[in-house]
């Protein structure tokens, strides 16, 4: 083996494509997680000047879950630059207009404002649902673990499962279920 071959490191700086399912996930916690993959902070070869970030594909962005009453309380500010051009949009309104924008802004604001930030954001691919183009899907080779487990909703259980669930008590006969 020649000296050159010995130190050859195949694909050290190759970009990996990760997929992340945003169903029922907090976008602000997810942003801190996804930022690491986008910037390459998860690699021991990380250097701020080295271009070692990966691609992240996020699916089901419209299914994100904001904590508490943040849908009503969180406000996004925009100013057109003209006098009286300020506007405030509530999170639920923004989500209605563009279901990927809350997550995008969360990730954008999680990174420091420098020249690299916009190029790093180019490596983020957000999709409101599960339909991802094939040319994106064929690159994916890793899945990022979700932060929170996705609970199964009561209306997603079949009727038989609900019926067969072990009962603790019987309601009294004069009990009125509203």
């Amino acid at each position: 083996m020649s000296a050159l071959k010995r130190v050859q490191q195949w694909a050290t700086f190759a970009r990996i494509w990760h997929i992340y399912d945003a169903t029922w996930q907090n976008p602000f916690e997810s942003a801190a997680l996804l930022k690491k993959y986008l910037m390459g902070l998860h690699k021991p070869i990380y250097h701020p000047l080295a271009d070692c970030g990966d691609h992240v594909v996020v699916i089901n962005c419209s299914e994100i879950a904001l904590p508490g009453d943040e849908w009503k309380k969180r406000v996004y500010f925009h100013h057109t630059g003209y006098p009286g051009g300020a506007s405030w949009t509530l999170a639920w309104e923004l989500h209605k207009k563009n279901p990927t924008l809350i997550l995008k802004k969360a990730i954008y604001h999680n990174m420091r404002g420098n020249l690299q930030r916009r190029y790093t954001m180019e490596r983020l691919h957000l999709f409101p649902n599960e339909s991802v183009p094939d040319e994106v899907m064929k690159n994916i080779s890793n899945q990022i673990r979700q932060i929170r487990p996705v609970p199964k909703r009561l209306d997603h259980y079949t009727e038989d499962e609900v019926k067969e669930f072990p009962k603790l008590i019987d309601y009294p006969k004069d009990y009125i279920i509203r």
């Binding site: 021991p44 070869i45 990380y46 701020p48």
Partner: protein, 148 residues
């Protein structure tokens, strides 16, 4: 602008105004525009540059330390151990490597670094530290406590 000989540089130390200024202009030789040619502008910029250099001597150390920590954390995450437990475990095992060496190992000697994480994890398990063993990787580390 450039001192071609040592003799010229030695002459620049004296009270001679021309050579005193020449010394400053030499430091400003790589600047752009009038700040490299006009003494009164050059001296301001040279002073500022020297102040920056003084300040950043400390900042460079801090930045490098930050970079080393980032790299170690990345390495630790690959092997499913937190940075805190990793450094704690190594310290208790009397592995006294500094951040720079650990970061170098994480980047260039991944198998050595993996062995270090195994040692730290084993030490944490022995000391009863609340450690997440969910990956359940085979730990083939033999410590003094296990040999008894």
């Amino acid at each position: 602008m450039v001192f071609t000989t040592v003799a010229n540089f030695v002459r620049s130390r004296g009270p001679d105004e021309f050579w005193r200024k020449r010394k400053i202009l030499k430091l400003a030789a790589h600047y752009i525009g009038r700040r490299r040619n006009c003494y009164s502008i050059a001296i301001k910029n040279v002073h500022r540059a020297l102040v920056y250099a003084t300040k950043h001597r400390q900042l460079r150390k801090e930045n490098m330390r930050q970079l080393h920590e980032t790299r170690i954390i990345a390495g630790c995450e690959q092997h499913g151990i937190s940075y805190k437990n990793f450094t704690n475990g190594l310290m208790k095992s009397n592995v006294l490597l500094n951040r720079k060496s650990l970061a170098d190992l994480a980047a260039w000697e991944p198998f050595t670094f993996k062995a270090l994480t195994d040692i730290a994890r084993q030490k944490c398990v022995e000391d009863g530290v609340n450690i997440d063993l969910s990956p359940q990787k085979s730990v083939d580390v033999i410590t003094k406590g296990m040999l008894k």
